[in-house]
């Protein structure tokens, strides 16, 4: 299946997500019929079979989702969602901040800025459950964590502060930023689970 991957382009590190998915698709042998593009409206969203919710400021992105009439279309989106950092906050059922209007697509409670301020931002190698190739080099920037997750959630990684990588149905949520590095294992895993497979040459 061809990939039609949208990146929600309301605010945040959109171009890094586009580049990371393009790299993942290239490594999977996909040609130009698989695409990655910006999504700003419900009409763009309808063209996607996968969507990335980028990092950025979750309060700002949440406000802009509502303003742009994207809240209901996102909730009923049938493809998979790959959510990092602020994106993970938006996917939750519960968030520790009343200004966020979370989408409720993953059964979890999320705390924003769970590690503290920018000076507490860090890089670390994190073991990932069920993933080959060794620990994942993860970049945490004013990152959130999931404090609780429902029984339908598969936890991929946790640190003392909480859960930092998890999956539910076709969705994946990460506290950290795989799009800032060149390790595309998580992107590829996400696409595989959607039925977007590597193309054998």
């Amino acid at each position: 299946m061809d990939a039609k991957i949208g990146v929600l382009a309301l605010q945040g590190n959109v171009s890094e997500h586009i580049d990371a998915f393009l790299l993942a698709l290239e490594r999977m042998g996909h040609g130009p019929s698989s695409e990655v593009f910006e999504v700003r409206s419900p009409a763009h969203l309808a063209e996607c079979n996968a969507l990335a919710l980028p990092g950025g400021e979750s309060t700002t992105i949440s406000r802009l989702i509502d303003k742009n009439g994207l809240y209901e279309p996102l909730r009923s989106f049938r493809g998979g969602i790959f959510a990092t950092c602020a994106g993970m906050v938006l996917m939750a059922t519960r968030v520790d901040d009343s200004r966020i209007h979370p989408l409720g697509l993953i059964d979890m409670a999320v705390d924003r800025n769970a590690f503290g301020r920018q000076r507490e931002s860090f890089e670390a190698d994190i073991p990932m459950d069920g993933m080959d190739g060794g620990p994942f080099h993860a970049v945490f920037i004013r990152a959130p964590v999931a404090t609780t997750a429902g029984s339908a959630v598969r936890v991929l990684a946790r640190v003392p502060q909480g859960i930092v990588a998890l999956e539910q149905r076709n969705h994946m949520a990460l506290s950290f930023h795989p799009e800032l590095g060149s390790d595309t294992r998580l992107h590829q895993r996400f696409l595989n689970r959607l039925g977007i497979a590597a193309i054998k040459k």
């Binding site: 382009a9 890094e16 406000r63 503290g116 931002s121 670390a124 970049v139 003392p160």
Partner: protein, 298 residues
């Protein structure tokens, strides 16, 4: 995850933090109340300072880092990142803001310079820095010193966007010009603009600065903000433009929307209606030499 294996304050974390601000509006605030208004309007971060630039112009004297009590009050009031300004070259003010927990430091020409020869050695810090620039050479010198983000300087506190436009056109135009040069010519150009050749090559290859590039200095209306975005800014800083307008709440929301829809004139028209008066403006050509802020630092 072993604690000793965590790495803090790396270049990637600094530039990564800056890239999360893209497509956003960063607003100058002088107290907790303004910070909350900015956050509620959808600002991605606030810049804490003692006085907004137009008041610095009026009051004269030496402009310094804000009172730590003020900075902490603003940090406590909001959950979005808080930035703070220090004087050019004043690395102790920067040490203080880092200790207070500020998320990014602006080494800013809006304050009175502490060193007319050297900027801060920003690589010594764990916290990321943003610095002003008027052209490609200045931007690349700051990046070489460790700046994780650039903002074009414009002319702060004037409410006049003309200098912001000039500086953005300088930087974007110089990068476009690099595409026509071969490596030797680029090396020569790097020498001419007093910038490291490696950074010049990187700009040519990527067609942009190696770090996020915001616009600042004179943005007073939603159209001004959208203009800077269409000229290639990754986001905008609004200083006096919000809290010196007659209705700061409305103006702040309108500028956030204009940046989000910078290429949609229908939205900009809609959000520009009934905003009240923008801040009063100044003709930059009538400023005396010692009133021009952009020439501080080079």
């Amino acid at each position: 995850m072993k604690l000793e294996e965590l790495r803090f304050g790396t270049e990637l974390l600094k530039r990564g933090f800056a890239s999360m601000q893209k497509g956003g509006v960063i607003m100058d605030v002088v107290n907790a109340e303004q910070a909350k208004i900015a956050e509620d309007a959808g600002a991605v971060a606030v810049m804490s300072l003692e006085r907004v630039p137009s008041d610095i112009r009026k009051m004269g004297g030496v402009a310094r880092m804000a009172d730590p009590e003020k900075v902490l009050e603003i940090i406590d009031a909001v959950s979005i990142p808080v930035m703070g300004k220090v004087r050019i070259g004043h690395f102790v003010e920067a040490q203080v803001l880092e200790v207070l927990g500020v998320d990014m430091i602006d080494e800013s020409e809006v304050l009175t310079p502490a060193d007319e020869q050297y900027h801060i050695d920003k690589k010594q810090f764990k916290v990321p820095f943003v610095c002003g620039a008027r052209d490609l050479g200045e931007a690349l010198r700051r990046i070489n010193e460790g700046a994780a983000m650039i903002r074009t300087k414009g002319e702060a506190g004037t409410g006049n966007v003309v200098e912001a436009v000039r500086h953005m056109r300088n930087i974007m135009g110089e990068i476009r010009m690099l595409r026509g040069l071969d490596k030797q010519e680029m090396t020569d150009y790097a020498r001419e603009i007093e910038a490291p050749a490696e950074l010049v090559f990187e700009c040519a290859e990527r067609g942009r600065l190696p770090v996020v590039n915001f616009s600042a200095g004179g943005i007073a209306t939603p159209s001004d903000a959208a203009l800077m975005m269409q000229l290639g800014a990754d986001g905008v800083f609004v200083g006096s433009g919000i809290f010196k307008s007659t209705n700061p709440e409305l103006m702040a929301k309108a500028i956030v929307e204009a940046v989000n829809h910078f290429d949609d004139a229908n939205v900009i028209a809609k959000v520009s209606k009934g905003l009240g008066d923008a801040m009063p403006g100044l003709d930059v050509h009538k400023l005396k030499d010692d009133e021009v802020l952009q020439t501080r630092g080079r």
